[in-house]
């Protein structure tokens, strides 16, 4: 008999602009000690499904239209608040995506961990303490007796997620719902957390519902997979069935979007005859001094964000810059753009040293290097129509007649795959992928020689991601546009770049042709990074072993 049976779940959001069918007829069963993966892109209803099980839906605007969710003889959808409170956080626990916001910053970890024990199980103070220390140890938090008095900000992202998992496990739940628990984490940390969840599940006979957009993550974990799209289950089956014999077109499309990134790029960038490099960066150092303050003990400390980076880029080449958060890859990009104060070094664009240029000269040379940002929701001015945004960029190169300007704008739109009917719209009327296209159009409007792309596809769904990457590659072919492609995602890097530099703590630890780097990584950190990538293939993924890297220092 299954532990949880959901039948015909429908959740609609009643908004001013009409009814949004967030979940539209979902059925599934969850067996004891198995993992159910729910995969889908943003807006597919995967999170709403789980929120409705725990009574966490915002009602209104949400409304449960129909369905049953039977758990231990209780219908979770009909249960009152009193009953739900006894189940929630006790027999069904949940962990969330963002460990930075799911802990209260004003309370110590200990206070937050002890709370559920007092509330649900009426533990004595001493017994609760023993239990908390035991669980903290189990989730891999070293020295729990001391760490228990620390505040959330004293933990790293990965450690906070461990705290969240500890909190979920305290009451020995039967079901653990994990809503994108590793999406906000670096790939090496993700590998550790996934392993932890796998181990805990086996040891405690947990039933896990694992929500994710990443097929690689789910491949090794899930026994059974539910593929959701626009509120409907398009396909469900065992992990092997979904990955090796997908039936629905949507599943196939999803798998293709992931797999395409594994296709190596044909090396096209040849030095186009002209001597010298487009961009050369020598011994670049960007240090930050933490602000000094009377009460600030850390003040005056120097952070070496970029520490002695040297790299070169040729015309038409795409150079990848890969690393985890805090590795200095974005700061390198921003330093080349001169968006941040550089400490020392030389940055030459076609022989012109950017760092010694005076301000006015710098402004005239800026259009040569353009940037695409990670967040397409923040990179467009919300008060300007697309027409105005593009016109502004084009007119920087000089005045034009109205007709010429219109032609150029239309050409740009065509280049990035948008049509002219979008011109009078504002950014908020577009989807994330479309906005990223507009941002790309704005960047290439100035006919730059170099494009710095800072995580341009990280916030996009996989199917959109593949489209944008394809677009960037087309533009690279068409205009021989050089790119510095910054990303934490190795599969994206592998798909688009010619050469790749791996950054770790402000330094480049390895720089090689992308295929060479992926086939035979030399540096132990690169090896660790590569071993951490989840593979969208259940058999391979279950065998994959993560080799952590610890620097000798």
């Amino acid at each position: 008999m299954s532990l949880l049976t959901v039948t015909d779940l429908r959740v609609y959001f009643h908004t001013r602009n009409g009814i949004i069918k967030a979940v539209d007829g979902v059925d599934f069963e969850l067996q004891r000690s198995t993992t159910l993966g729910i995969v889908g892109e943003s807006g597919s209803g995967k999170s709403v499904t789980c929120q409705s099980l725990l009574g966490l839906l915002p009602i209104p605007p949400a409304r449960i239209e129909s369905g049953r969710a039977m758990f231990a003889g209780t219908d979770l959808l009909q249960a009152g608040e009193q009953v739900l409170r006894k189940i929630r956080g006790h027999r069904i626990a949940m962990i969330f995506q963002d460990p930075m916001t799911s802990l209260n910053p004003y309370l110590t970890i200990g206070t937050q961990l002890l709370e559920p024990l007092h509330i649900h199980l009426h533990f004595s103070r001493k017994a609760a303490m023993t239990r908390v220390l035991q669980v903290m140890d189990e989730v891999g938090i070293a020295d729990p007796a001391r760490r228990i008095n620390c505040y959330p900000h004293e933990f790293s992202g990965g450690m906070r997620q461990r705290v969240m998992i500890a909190m979920a496990l305290l009451t020995n739940p039967e079901i653990l719902i994990a809503d994108e628990p590793t999406t906000a984490l670096d790939v090496t940390i993700q590998a550790q957390i996934l392993e932890l969840i796998k181990n805990l599940q086996a040891r405690h006979n947990l039933a896990v519902i694992f929500i994710t957009h990443d097929l690689g993550v789910i491949a090794g974990l899930a026994d059974h997979i539910l593929v959701m799209h626009r509120g409907k289950v398009v396909e469900q089956g065992s992990a092997e069935t979904i990955f090796y014999r997908p039936q629905a077109d949507y599943t196939k499309n999803l798998l293709n979007s992931v797999l395409i990134t594994a296709n190596p790029r044909k090396f096209v960038a040849q030095a186009s005859g002209n001597a010298g490099h487009l961009l050369s960066v020598e011994n670049l150092k960007t240090y930050y001094r933490l602000p000094t303050g009377f009460f600030n003990r850390a003040g005056g400390q120097i952070i070496k964000a970029v520490d002695d980076v040297t790299l070169e880029l040729q015309q038409g080449e795409i150079l990848g810059l890969v690393g985890e958060s805090g590795s200095g890859k974005s700061t390198t990009g921003r330093s080349i753009m001169r968006l941040t104060q550089v400490t020392s070094g030389v940055i030459r664009l076609q022989g012109v040293d950017l760092l010694t240029l005076e301000r006015r000269k710098l402004r005239t040379i800026r259009p040569e290097i353009q940037m695409i940002f990670q967040n397409p929701y923040a990179s467009l001015n919300p008060r300007l129509t697309i027409q105005d945004t593009l016109a502004e960029a084009i007119l920087i190169k000089g005045k034009l007649t109205t007709a010429d300007l219109q032609n150029q704008i239309l050409q740009l739109l065509q280049d990035v795959g948008l049509d002219a009917s979008h011109l009078r719209k504002y950014p908020h009327e577009f989807s994330g992928g479309q906005r990223q296209r507009i941002a790309i159009a704005r960047a290439i409007a100035l006919r730059p020689k170099l494009l710095i792309a800072d995580e341009p596809v990280s916030s996009l769904d996989v199917t959109i991601r593949a489209q944008i990457l394809r677009l960037l590659r087309e533009l690279n072919d068409k205009y021989a546009l050089s790119m510095l492609f910054i990303s934490h995602d190795l599969s994206v890097i592998r798909y688009i770049t010619d050469r790749t530099a791996v950054m770790y703590r402000g330094k480049i630890v390895e720089l090689a042709d992308t295929e060479t780097l992926f086939q035979s990584p030399q540096h132990p950190y690169t090896q660790a990074l590569l071993s951490a990538i989840p593979v969208p293939d259940p058999v391979k993924e279950r065998q994959r072993r993560f080799m952590p890297y610890s620097p000798k220092s």
């Binding site: 005239t364 940037m371 001015n381 960029a393």
Partner: protein, 302 residues
């Protein structure tokens, strides 16, 4: 220029749209405002009150200063629609004359506060660093000055003068505006579209006027609609201290404060000036809300 091959109807439709920079925001905003009934009602009320204030010398039924003690304070009647005050002066006439002063204070002092405050706050927030520190500390110092003493000093040095009063009130109100604007600019500055603008090589003034200012309009407008009533009340307080408008001239604030004194015997002396002030403030708030929404493309979605 490469031939785009777009079909001609789309192209002609697009070229009708003015490519001229900056126009679309205001045109769109006006269309959105016009479709907001509450805001348009507010605008109409303000226009009517404004027109009456301007035309008062020609349309006022009585003189604002002529006293007629025999009339005494009489309640509203057909000859004196809103009644008369204790000196026998027509209340309607006095409210009409009072609106000239009150609206002028409201507009001019707020305009002064708005100009200085937005300029100071934007420059301070956008430049950041040392300039920001110096500019904001000077705001802090001015905040610390007791403003009545400040205004008394101004009056003593420059003599009592209505325009000086407007300036003095504006010179106090801009401090809060500067702080609010600076905070807002600081957060806008972090946005990636500002970095994109810098990367394109746009000049600082252009970035500020085109990319920063339009995005802080919402806050500025809301705060402005809060400042205007504030300023009108401040004027009555100063007049009460003998620093502002002096009898026989009047302002709404003065009428209300003298109405309060005789509230129990002659309630209409309080009711009508207070009602007209409230109506103005309501109208301002509706218009302010409407403007804020109209200027934000995200607020409307059809």
């Amino acid at each position: 220029m490469q031939q785009t091959g777009e079909n001609p109807t789309i192209e002609s439709a697009v070229s009708q749209a003015t490519p001229e920079s900056g126009t679309s925001l205001w045109q769109d905003a006006w269309l959105r405002l016009a479709s907001n009934k509450l805001a348009m009602t507010g605008l109409c009320i303000l226009v009517i009150i404004g027109l009456i204030a301007v035309l008062t010398p020609w349309i006022a039924p009585y003189s604002y200063s002529d006293q007629n003690l025999e009339l005494g304070a009489i309640p509203p009647s057909t000859s004196h629609w809103l009644g008369t005050d204790t000196f026998g002066r027509d209340l309607l006439t006095r409210i009409m004359y009072g609106s000239r002063i009150s609206l002028m204070v409201g507009l001019l002092a707020t305009a002064v506060a708005l100009t200085i405050g937005v300029f100071w706050g934007t420059v301070s927030g956008y430049l950041g660093g040392r300039a920001d520190a110096v500019m904001m500390r000077s705001v802090d110092i001015l905040y610390a000055l007791p403003f009545t003493i400040f205004i008394i000093l101004l009056m003593v040095v420059f003599g009592r003068n209505l325009f000086l009063l407007f300036l003095a009130i504006g010179a106090i109100e801009w401090l809060t505006m500067a702080r609010i604007v600076r905070g807002e600019v600081l957060s806008i500055r972090q946005q990636e579209y500002i970095e994109a603008a810098i990367a394109m090589g746009l000049s600082k003034p252009r970035i500020i006027f085109r990319h920063v200012l339009p995005n802080i309009l919402g806050v500025v407008i809301v705060y402005t609609t809060l400042t205007i009533p504030n300023v009108i009340l401040l004027e009555s307080f100063l007049s009460f201290l003998g620093l502002g408008v002096q009898p026989p001239q009047s302002s709404w604030g003065l009428l209300i404060s003298s109405g309060v004194e005789t509230m129990e015997e002659y309630p209409w002396l309080l009711f009508f000036p207070a009602a007209i002030l409230s109506a103005t403030l309501f109208a301002l708030n509706f218009l302010g809300d409407g403007l804020r929404d109209a200027l934000d493309p995200r607020a409307y979605r059809d």
